[in-house]
């Protein structure tokens, strides 16, 4: 055990003196997270979610009550912190505002929207309601998504009301309690009543509710930062494993082999050194981001457990790369490719929940995907029990990969490495 730790601490000390490595391990993820925070408005808004007072332009071409209702919803007190609507009659000018990035979307309530939902007396209901147009700014997908959610909710309430109104009118007409000429007004009143009754909550808030029912405020950086940290953890894992080959080239590996030290002690020491480096890196990033960016990572014990498991999984991948590579250059190239690929697969850059099922399955080979899942759960209020699956998956991943790497290295012979 003593020699394992000797080799591990020696490697840790060497990394701590490698300025280039420290920049990539610590500074780069900090800077990228800072950039993400700026892009999402996390640092400028009053809200920790980073999404507040989303500027939208409204063009209400409808002359009926439903159009007015939608305008009222968007200008309501409940949504005051979320959206900042501006009314406009000029569609071209409104589109220009969006194109100039001064608003994230233009919402056009078309003429005849109310009539398409609640046909006037004597007119047949159209096949489909007139669609509300959403002219979106492609550079603000998150904010546009929020606006669309609000619109979807409104459309859903309108549909509830419409169906309820039709059912009520049909039943009353059939029973003879109303006359044909009264169907329109009665249908409208019934629909509004049902829609209002169906409205559980008109407040659109960005929060999550944990299985225990506790709601926590949504923080966009708490979802994005783990992805960054995990991506650069993969760099640490591959950089650490590269040292096995650089030590071969520098002669220190043969010197270790001919010292009274067994092969498993040398490899185990290298692995512990990489693991130690990864753990320190993650905790520095987590603590630093909590301090500087006010990120709430969640249950501290669960975060620690998740970190220990994530690093284990990452180191397993690092050892496999070292076992298969022939030169430090190969480890560098493959390690960089893995770092970026796993970052993409794991959800650092792309929300993988929007991707096909088969792709989501593929992401599970990466420690990034399991780590992001776990950290997101914790940031949204989960506890240790909620991250048992990702922790277990990461531990199994690390164990299997390390065992395979050990087999490959021993077959090759450490001296012939």
């Amino acid at each position: 055990m003593r020699k394992l730790l000797l080799i591990a601490f020696k490697d840790f000390r060497l990394v701590a003196r490698d300025r280039a490595a420290l920049v990539l391990m610590l500074l780069a993820p900090f800077l990228l997270t800072l950039g993400l925070g700026a892009v999402t408005g996390r640092f400028s808004g009053a809200s920790a979610s980073g999404i507040s007072r989303i500027p939208v332009v409204l063009a209400n071409l409808d002359r009926g009550p439903l159009g007015s209702d939608l305008v009222a919803v968007l200008r309501s007190d409940e949504l005051h912190d979320l959206v900042d609507p501006t009314l406009s009659d000029d569609l071209a000018a409104a589109r220009s505002i969006v194109d100039a990035n001064k608003a994230v979307a233009l919402i056009v309530i078309p003429a005849g929207f109310t009539d398409s939902v609640i046909p006037p007396q004597g007119q047949a209901a159209p096949a489909a309601a007139a669609p509300i147009e959403l002219y979106a700014n492609p550079t603000a997908p998150t904010s546009v998504g929020v606006v669309k959610t609000v619109l979807d909710r409104f459309a859903s309430q309108v549909e509830v009301g419409r169906v309820a109104g039709q059912v009520a009118v049909t039943q009353l007409l059939a029973s003879g309690r109303i006359r044909m000429q009264d169907t329109s007004s009665i249908g409208l009143a019934a629909g509004v009543q049902e829609a209002n009754a169906a409205e559980q909550e008109s407040v659109i808030t960005l929060s999550s509710v944990t299985p225990s029912g506790r709601a926590v405020p949504f923080d966009v950086l708490a979802v994005l930062a783990p992805g960054m940290a995990l991506m650069f953890l993969m760099y640490t894992a591959s950089n650490g494993s590269r040292t096995i080959l650089t030590e071969r080239n520098h002669g220190t590996l043969p010197r270790l082999v001919v010292s009274p030290t067994r092969t498993w002690q040398i490899l185990g020491g290298k692995m512990i050194g990489i693991y130690l480096t990864g753990v320190v890196q993650m905790f520095v990033l987590i603590f630093g981001m909590a301090l500087l960016f006010r990120i709430q990572w969640g249950d501290s014990y669960a975060v620690q457990a998740l970190v220990l498991a994530a690093v284990f999984g990452a180191v397993g991948w690092g050892m496999i790369v070292a076992a298969l590579a022939k030169t430090p250059g190969q480890v560098n190239a493959v390690g960089t490719a893995i770092m970026l690929t796993f970052g993409i697969l794991g959800g650092t850059f792309v929300d993988s929940s929007r991707l096909p099922a088969w792709f989501r399955t593929l992401t599970k080979v990466t420690p990034n995907a399991w780590g992001v899942e776990g950290f997101t759960t914790l940031a949204l209020g989960g506890g240790l029990r909620d991250v048992v699956t990702p922790i277990f998956a990461l531990l199994v991943m690390g164990l299997v990969l390390f065992a395979l790497a050990l087999l490959l290295i021993r077959r090759r012979g450490l001296a012939d490495y």
């Binding site: 003196r17 220190t252 082999v257 009274p260 030290t261």
Partner: protein, 314 residues
């Protein structure tokens, strides 16, 4: 005196290529034994096998009675290795390197601390101990490299061409320290392609070429193999062949043999001065241009030349 190292028909192959082809020799306790030979002779491979870095392909070797093939850990506790390549951590200081390697050899606490200071003193780097190795000159790195091999006071020290690429002053210091270590009782297997190092240091010399041990003995014994003959060495024009000159010279009185290697003709005779004029006359008659002439008296270089027809550094 008991042998600290016994080597019996040692073979090492890499695929079909035999780098070491069945060599046999012993080293007595307290002896400095040199393996002398040109680059590619198999010296480093021999040390690699004896130090347990690689398993032998055939034969046997024992260090203080422990088999290098079957009792590697026991052997490693007895030997020290100074590899040809520098094997140090550049980002650690000289002292940090010694402390790390000392701990890997089982030294602890006060013993380690004392030994590190002793070795730093021995290699003359006490005042540079806190600087990182990457700031050292080539000679300083070589000295620390040697220091690492000495830390645990091994009974047998393997030194693989420790003076390659360093300045004469550092080289002198290394040779003196090897003699010092030997006076303290350490046995040394020293490989080199510098004849003068082998001559200065060694009690006995083994000459290696193409994986084989072609001669073994003290310097006196080896030079007697080639008799008291001198060797007249002529460097001829690179656009000419020496074969015709060698053939002509062989028939001269007093000439024992004449060999051609590239653009060098080596003529062996009891007294080179006596045949010099006749050889030069023969060269002139054949139109062979001579760039330089020198006389080599019996030494290990001459032994190698006599045995292989080539110089050590050809």
């Amino acid at each position: 005196m008991a042998a600290i190292l016994e080597v019996r028909n040692l073979v090492k192959k890499y695929g079909d290529f035999a780098a070491v082809k069945g060599i046999t020799f012993d080293i007595a306790e307290g002896e400095i034994f040199s393996l002398l030979g040109p680059n590619g002779a198999g010296k480093t491979t021999t040390i690699s096998v004896l130090s347990t870095l690689y398993a032998p392909s055939g034969g046997e070797a024992f260090v203080a009675g422990h088999s290098v093939a079957r009792e590697a850990m026991a052997v490693r506790n007895l030997i020290g290795v100074v590899p040809q390549e520098l094997a140090l951590y550049d980002e650690l200081s000289g002292r940090e390197n010694l402390v790390f390697w000392g701990k890997m050899y089982g030294l602890r606490r006060k013993v380690l601390k004392t030994r590190v200071e002793e070795v730093l003193e021995q290699v003359g780097l006490s005042d540079k101990a806190r600087q990182r190795v990457k700031t050292y000159s080539g000679g300083m790195k070589r000295r620390i490299n040697i220091g690492v091999g000495l830390l645990h006071k091994p009974r047998l020290l393997f030194m693989d061409e420790p003076t390659v690429g360093i300045d004469p002053q550092s080289r002198r210091a290394i040779l003196d320290s090897v003699k010092d270590l030997n006076r303290q009782g350490m046995s040394v297997l020293y490989t080199t392609h510098y004849m003068e190092e082998a001559q200065e240091l060694s009690h006995r010399v083994g000459i290696m070429d193409h994986g084989e041990l072609i001669a073994l003995g003290s310097q006196k014994e080896l030079t007697q193999q080639v008799g008291q003959n001198d060797t007249l060495i002529l460097d001829i024009d690179e656009n000419q062949s020496g074969a015709g000159l060698a053939a002509a010279v062989r028939s001269l009185a007093g000439v024992i043999r004449a060999d051609v290697t590239n653009h060098t003709v080596a003529v062996t005779a009891p007294e080179a001065e006596q045949i010099m004029v006749a050889v030069i006359t023969a060269a002139n008659a054949l139109g062979v241009k001579i760039h330089s002439v020198r006389i080599q008296e019996p030494d290990l270089e001459a032994v190698f030349l006599s045995l292989t027809g080539r110089g050590l550094r050809d």
